[in-house]
Amino acid sequence: MRLLFVRSRTAFTLIELLVVIAIIAILIGLLLPAVQKVREAAARMKCQNQIRQLAIGLHNYHDVHNTLPSSYDITNGLSWYVYVLPFVEQDPQFKAMNTAPGGTFTSTNRLNPHGLTRISAFLCPSSPIDRMATMAPHNVNTPEIIGTPAQGTYTTHYYGITGPRGTNSATGTAYPVTTGTHDGVPMALSGMFVVTPLSVRLTDVTDGTSVTLMLGEMSWFSSVYGTRYRTWLRGGDIGGSFACSARNVTNAINSGLRANMIAAYSDVPMGSMHPGGASFAMGDASVRFVSESIDMNVYRAIASRNGGEVANQ
């Protein structure tokens, strides 16, 4: 009996202890990357919820005005984000702004102080940048950096889709674009956010709203060029041929992020810091995560509202 008692008090050997520590270390090592993945998955979910709320807000705007907004208001240069504010529970912000033709600010709204208001519903939580780049040496956006000390105005990460630019794979003809160009590139005309003064009604989306892109995520960050973000309320220059609040579908998702390239403003590609693609809202306000390796002809087909393509998804 006494012998048994002594045996039961035998301690761990050093080897046993080390093995236990090693096993615990391996388990923690497995757990830590998983925690990081969960964080990113949660951020992506929040991002997709935000783009969905914005798309539902646009549907409510359509219910009231019987049309989607133009990419911006030609009379005062304000973006469509301003006009959707009352429909995404930002009514006080909308009331604080001057939306009269001409406005009280500069014609381009570049220096509108409301640009210093951060609207978190317009910003992807995974993006490292939420305002215009102010850092040297690629401080290429000085006109919209305001205040003392100088601050970059807050931007948005969800953009209207002006449509595809390139060849329609169903008909072999070029998709329609504006005659005016900016950086040598025109704006597309066959998407859901056409350049002012035109606007799209949901009945104009003959390809079907559930297979047509309405909003796309552009929240990637180029450490070299600052990604050319603009203040969220800026729509474009009055009479201009580009929009700050909408982009063409010309270049592959994340192509700018991968090659660190920025050239034509209207063609800046969609992309995000979420691994492997970006979030998009379809015309019926459903949200999809589109892979960066999507067939380019399918990507163009779902960007057009009336191209007559069969989108084989």
């Binding site: 690629h138 290429v140 956006n141 000085t142 006109p143 390139g166 060849t167 794979s169 072999g172 160009t181 950086d183 040598g184 590139v185 070299v224 060029y225 600052g226 050319r228 010309t250 270049n251 592959a252 192509s255 991968r258 090659a259 660190n260 390239m261 920025i262 050239a263 034509a264 390796s293 999507i294 067939d295 380019m296 002809n297």
Partner: protein, 136 residues
């Protein structure tokens, strides 16, 4: 026959089928090959710009791209390669003198397009953009 041997053989077959699915399953990723070369405008190297390869319907799927630096591009350098098929090439060229609101400088010429065919092997492509007289 021994039932245990039958079970083992069945398991082995199931494993083989599963392995086949795993190998074949992700067939949507196309095999990419690289393309590199030079871009000149009016006989001189283009200092900065972008080059995109749009797949023509029925051929390759994803878009290839690269940046142009000092008249040279290579899809293996931070860009993406091309599947096999016909492509339309789009080239934008800039003077490389960074200015306010122009990260690559001023545009040298309107978007240049031409066709390209990638056979599946790595290729080289030398693009010569000609200077067009004003009014054309």
């Amino acid at each position: 026959m021994n039932p245990r041997a039958t079970t083992t053989r069945l398991t082995a077959r199931a494993g083989l089928v599963l392995a086949l699915f795993l190998v074949v399953g992700c067939g949507s990723d196309e095999k990419l090959s690289q393309v590199s070369g030079t871009v000149t405008y009016d006989g001189k190297p283009v200092p900065a710009g972008t080059i995109f390869f749009d797949p023509v319907a029925g051929g390759a799927k994803s878009q290839g791209f690269a940046t142009i630096k000092n008249g040279e591009f290579d899809t293996a350098q931070g860009g993406r390669g091309l599947g096999a098929g016909k492509f339309q090439v789009r080239v934008l060229g800039f003077d490389g003198k960074e200015a306010n609101d122009a990260p690559l400088g001023r545009s040298l010429f309107p978007e240049h397009t031409q066709s390209h065919e990638q056979t599946g092997a790595n290729a080289t492509l030398d693009i010569k953009v000609l200077k067009t007289p004003k009014g054309q």
